[in-house]
């Protein structure tokens, strides 16, 4: 019975995996096909040449875009970690009037769809003259209600006596935050870090709005640009670029999987 059950489970899992992985796998195969082969309906390349990859780098400044994406994602990640952890620290360890109300208001902002805030945010960025700059691409994302929530839940699991002991022995807030709270919250910080890096990496609408030259443009815009540049899209080249772009995502997922699972679980249970 249990063998039967696990067989069914595994078959379902394999089917699921195939469905989920198919687009990525197919994109990978296409990236090695020439335009003509693709039109003929060839499903397997005869030779594994990197021609499409080379073309992808030649056609658009892909390297520049990758670098921009990396910089933007990295800054947003650091910014979110910093802002979320500081805010969460205040919500957990500081006593001030209206603390809980403020926290629930912060949480409530998660109900507002991000798209609804795009226009006002854009106007603000424009007024500040931050269009076409890393500032405009990163700063609006520093405050993240989800991040504050995730870290607050983790900070709450730190025994309050640690804080009190620090208070009695005269340890200042920042020292306690930096040397006790952060090291004890490594898993949640890693989770949040990976999460914010990936969401920023995959962002499309906002970079499209606030950038209009290739100096700071990110890689997702680059992909779109590649499709629209010519009448007849060279899908092989586009897919080669796609494979390059999803590489960091996959790497992060494989490396950070354990941490990510741990962190998300912790947030859920405790």
């Amino acid at each position: 019975m249990s063998i039967f059950r696990s067989m069914v489970t595994y078959i379902l899992l394999v089917i699921g995996a195939v469905i989920v992985m198919f687009p990525i796998g197919y994109a990978f195969i296409i990236s090695f096909l020439s335009g003509a082969q693709l039109l003929q309906g060839v499903l397997w390349p005869d030779e594994w040449s990197l021609r499409n990859y080379v073309t992808a780098f030649e056609k658009v400044p892909l390297l520049r875009y990758l670098w921009n994406s990396f910089i933007v994602s990295f800054i947003v990640m650091i910014g979110q970690l910093l802002v979320s952890s500081l805010a969460a620290y205040a919500f957990v360890f500081l006593r001030f009037w209206g603390r809980d109300v403020l926290f629930f208001m912060t949480i409530a902002t998660m109900l507002i769809p991000w798209e609804a805030t795009v226009i006002p945010n854009f106007l603000t960025i424009q007024k500040l003259g931050w269009t076409n700059s890393y500032l405009g691409l990163t700063v609006p994302f520093f405050a993240l209600a989800f991040g504050i929530f995730l870290l607050r839940q983790h900070f709450k699991t730190i025994p309050f006596e640690l804080y009190e002991a620090a208070q009695v022995s005269g340890v200042r807030h920042f020292r306690f935050f930096w040397y006790v709270v952060l090291p004890l919250s490594k898993t949640s910080l890693a989770t949040l870090g990976v999460y914010s890096f990936l969401t920023t990496w995959n962002m499309y609408l906002w970079p499209l709005l606030v950038t209009n030259d290739e100096k700071v443009r990110t890689v997702q815009i680059g992909l779109k640009q590649m499709q629209t540049q010519e009448m007849a899209t060279e899908w092989g080249v586009v897919m080669a670029a796609v494979v390059i772009v999803i590489m960091p995502t996959l790497l992060l997922l494989f490396i950070g999987q354990k941490q990510l699972q741990k962190g998300l679980m912790q947030g859920a249970i405790k």
């Binding site: 025994p159 006596e161 640690l162 009190e164 002991a165 620090a166 208070q167 009695v168 022995s169 005269g170 340890v171 200042r172 020292r175 040397y179 006790v180 090291p183 004890l184």
Partner: protein, 367 residues
């Protein structure tokens, strides 16, 4: 010197969990707050530490009002019940963590840490993490952390309650010794009356947020101010029984009469009497005695606890030295020195009587 003047604590503004506490704790004193759980002793300690705001009254340390001073500026150290060690730091880092903010040079920090570690036998464990240590060692790290701060006042909140009995006895001695060596003023919270009796210069017994009695341990033991203190301090607990007053006699559940050498004031009708187990002894030949039936015998080696039936409903315990050969079911003659009998009125307050040195005599009655 720490002064508490009419200190009170209330969370909702109506009911006070700590009420009207007045006490003066002298420099270098080992002062123990003792009481059952929920009596407000920990809250009081946390108010002294500054971790809990004071609702009413004033707290003075060395004559300076401290009510609104943050804990870090009260110049005291504290040991928590669960030790509150930083799990990711080594023993050494744990001990010196609080010193960094006090503008103490690196050499001095190192020196103090080594001294404290030596004093508490932690020298070999300085590089270990707390989770690699046993309960007793963790406790010592917490103590070391309190010591290195070299503050004149140290607060301890039930520091030994997580240890097993044997280790607890050892640590009692060590803490006491440490306190005397360093001459610190210690305020120590415990629910364990043995800790209170063995360690304290003075104890303060609390119940329901109110101070019941303050005094030297033996003084409190011998002269409890009320029924609560009498029953809380001492193990096994003091034998207590309600009695009706009839001139010079007390009647227990209409079964036994106890004759006293003096009269009670006229208005007293119902009282409670208390006798410590060690004051009930086997009667000698010429003593007035009363016979009791033994219900249970516990032989502890050095002493024997004998439970006997005073009345049908009430059992008393007598503590005799040595290993008595009394058996369950035996009828034994016992006697009580009258000076060792304590009287309490209906409200539970102690009645101070002119105490005679006769023995009290019990008689069976038939109504």
């Amino acid at each position: 010197m720490i002064e508490l003047v009419q200190i009170g604590k209330s969370y909702d503004g109506k009911t006070f969990v700590v009420d009207d506490v007045n006490v003066r704790i002298e420099k270098g004193e080992f002062f123990v707050l003792v009481g059952p759980s929920g009596c407000g002793k920990s809250t009081l300690l946390r108010m002294i530490a500054g971790l809990e705001p004071i609702t009413s009254g004033s707290l003075r340390i060395n004559g300076k009002e401290m009510n609104d001073v943050p804990p870090s500026e009260r110049n005291l150290s504290m040991v928590f019940q669960n030790y509150a060690l930083y799990p990711h730091l080594t023993v050494e880092e744990n001990i010196t963590f609080g010193l960094h903010t006090k503008k103490i040079s690196k050499q001095e920090r190192k020196k103090r840490c080594m001294e404290a570690a030596e004093m508490l036998g932690l020298t070999d464990y300085l590089k270990h993490k707390p989770r690699q240590l046993s309960g007793g060692q963790r406790q010592r790290v917490a103590l070391a952390r309190a010591i290195v701060a070299q503050t004149p006042i140290c607060l301890m909140d039930e520091p030994l309650s997580n240890l097993d009995a044997k280790l607890r006895a050892k640590m009692r001695f060590e803490i006491r010794q440490l306190q005397q060596q360093l001459g610190i003023t210690m305020i120590y919270v415990t629910h364990d009356q043995i800790e209170a009796m063995t360690m304290a210069d003075r104890i303060m017994v609390m119940n329901g947020g109110r101070v019941q009695q303050i005094g030297e341990p033996l003084d409190v033991y011998n002269h409890p101010a009320n029924i609560f203190v009498a029953s809380f301090i001492g193990s096994p607990a003091m034998n207590m029984t309600k009695a009706d007053v009839l001139e010079q006699s007390l009647i227990f559940n209409r079964e036994r009469i106890m004759r006293l050498a003096h009269r009670f004031p006229l208005e007293t009708k119902n009282i409670t009497i208390g006798v410590r187990p060690e004051h009930i002894r086997l009667a000698n030949k010429n003593d007035p005695y009363f016979t009791v039936k033994v219900v249970n015998v516990e032989r502890l080696g050095t002493e024997t606890l004998i439970t006997f039936a005073l009345t049908k409903k009430e059992h008393w315990i007598a503590r005799w030295n040595g290993q008595c050969s009394v058996r369950v079911g035996d009828e034994v003659p016992v006697t009580i020195d009258e000076q060792h009998v304590l009287f309490f009125n209906e409200a539970g307050e102690r009645l101070y009587m002119g105490v005679g040195d006769d023995y009290v005599s019990f008689r069976e009655t038939k109504f």
